[in-house]
Subunit: 290 residues, 2 copies
């Protein structure tokens, strides 16, 4: 038993999948949920995803030994502030946010007396679907969870959170907050911005009906992430603004270089870009099997 009572704040795709995984693996005694949609929470109890729920945030965390924050990033600081004084003294607090600098900054302000028990974490897993209805216990299997401990973080608290994620099938690695945010900006946040922007751009063209009619399988793969939650991604983009803008500016320069090569009919330069990219993508496929 890693933690007697776990409270999951925000029972969506990630929170719901974690709840299912914890219960399946018997890693805790009770899982309590907190969310905005009571019907979904009731259904989650009926389906055995959680043991009970509360629509009152402070009540939801009152007896918890471990609290998981799994709501959009813009809500994090206010949530921390509201729960801080009702938590049990050694209650571990962790989160699942896709940007960590902003979460750590929020914790320094809103959980000042509890930093030893705050363990920032980010499961690199998900689908383009949202909500507890789309959750499943296997979501984290063979996926990486990045923990970005603070200097203040208690080793035992960090190890409990790591064990929890391992218990639902994930591999855990530690990374600096800044490094996490740079890497995720490049590998996840920028691609989402590109796809959302492309789809919105195409949907405003006169040819939009033909465009979506004659799209091939590659387009479906390429654009799948645009079905993800707009609210979550709005928050991520703003939360990780500095790192995202840095890699976006870099990308815009590369894209403009490709544009110039196309305009000049410079096949050699395009061949260089495309060949290097294929080499890197093929290596990624070999290393990950994807």
């Amino acid at each position: 038993m890693l933690a007697e009572n776990v409270s999951i704040i925000g029972l969506g795709l990630i929170g719901g999948s974690l709840a299912r995984g914890l219960k399946r693996a018997g890693l805790c005694n009770t899982v309590r949920g907190y969310g905005r949609r009571e019907a979904a929470l009731q259904q989650a109890v009926e389906d055995g995803v959680i043991d009970d729920y509360s629509l009152d945030l402070r009540e939801a965390v009152a007896g918890a030994d471990l609290v998981v924050l799994a709501t959009p990033l813009s809500t994090t600081e206010a949530l921390m502030r509201e729960i801080s004084d009702v938590l049990k003294p050694e209650c571990i607090i962790t989160d699942v946010g896709s940007a960590k600098g902003v979460v750590v900054a929020a914790a320094r302000k809103a959980l000042a007396g509890r930093l030893a028990y705050f363990v920032p974490a980010h499961p690199i897993a998900g689908t383009e679907k949202s909500g507890v209805e789309a959750s499943f216990a296997e979501l984290f299997e063979n996926h990486i969870v990045i923990i970005t401990p603070l200097t203040e973080t208690d080793r035992g608290a960090r190890d409990t959170v790591a064990a929890l994620w391992r218990g639902v099938g994930a591999t855990v690695v530690d990374l600096d907050v800044e490094h996490h945010d740079e890497v995720l900006a490049a590998t996840s946040h920028l691609p989402h911005v590109l796809v959302y922007t492309l789809i919105d751009c195409l949907a405003q063209m006169q040819d939009r009906n033909e465009i979506f009619t004659y799209a091939a399988g590659g387009f479906a793969d390429f654009t799948r992430v645009a079905s993800s939650s707009p609210e979550m991604w709005r928050d991520i983009c703003i939360a990780n603004k500095a790192s995202l803008l840095a890699v976006l500016d870099r990308f815009e320069k590369h894209l403009h270089g490709a544009r110039e090569a196309i305009a000049a009919g410079d096949g050699g330069r395009l061949m260089d870009v495309f060949s290097r990219a294929k080499q890197a993508r093929d290596a990624f496929a070999r290393n990950t099997g994807r």
Copy 2:
């Protein structure tokens, strides 16, 4: 029997898959292949993909009733020029190029006396793999083939090519050359440029090892097309330069707008873009099942 003897010039993923599909459906008597790699052609004969092959282009098409050009776009005009005077008088010539304006222009120059029997076509199907080794007979099933007939195109020749594609499982639609090139620039050519450019950009970053290590499933989907043939895509970008630059410029404006919204922390504007994109992507998924 749609055509007694078919010659496929360029036995790669598309040419090889068409050869397999034609033979499986019994739509022709013999399929002859032409390519650059003799070992691959020999293997294709052994595997029953083709009946025979020639390394001599003119010999490869000499007795054909239907010739399919399935090589990278930059080779099209020279191939047409070289085969034009050895073809049987009513031999139908078709192609599989992803850009059609450039192919039609080549045909007007190199197949001037034979335009009635030239049927430009584009099967919207493929995988990120290349070569006859990756070909399979089912590649075109439930995919669209766009035919862009010229005013000169003989109706019977067009119908034969359409029947051939239907025979291997595809749905055939007719489109204007210009319209085809605009739509495909938006839906296929631009996404390939974005992904190739992004991967090349990331592969040059200091963090590149972590970037590719911590990439999630969305990244794998998003970037899969970067494993496609660089040579083929270089040719497509240059062949469809005008339409590609038009949609690329439009996209760059949208992307810069998103950049400004992120920099300003303008959550409302990002939410608008992301929500509209999600709506369009969800509609695409509903309509296509992808």
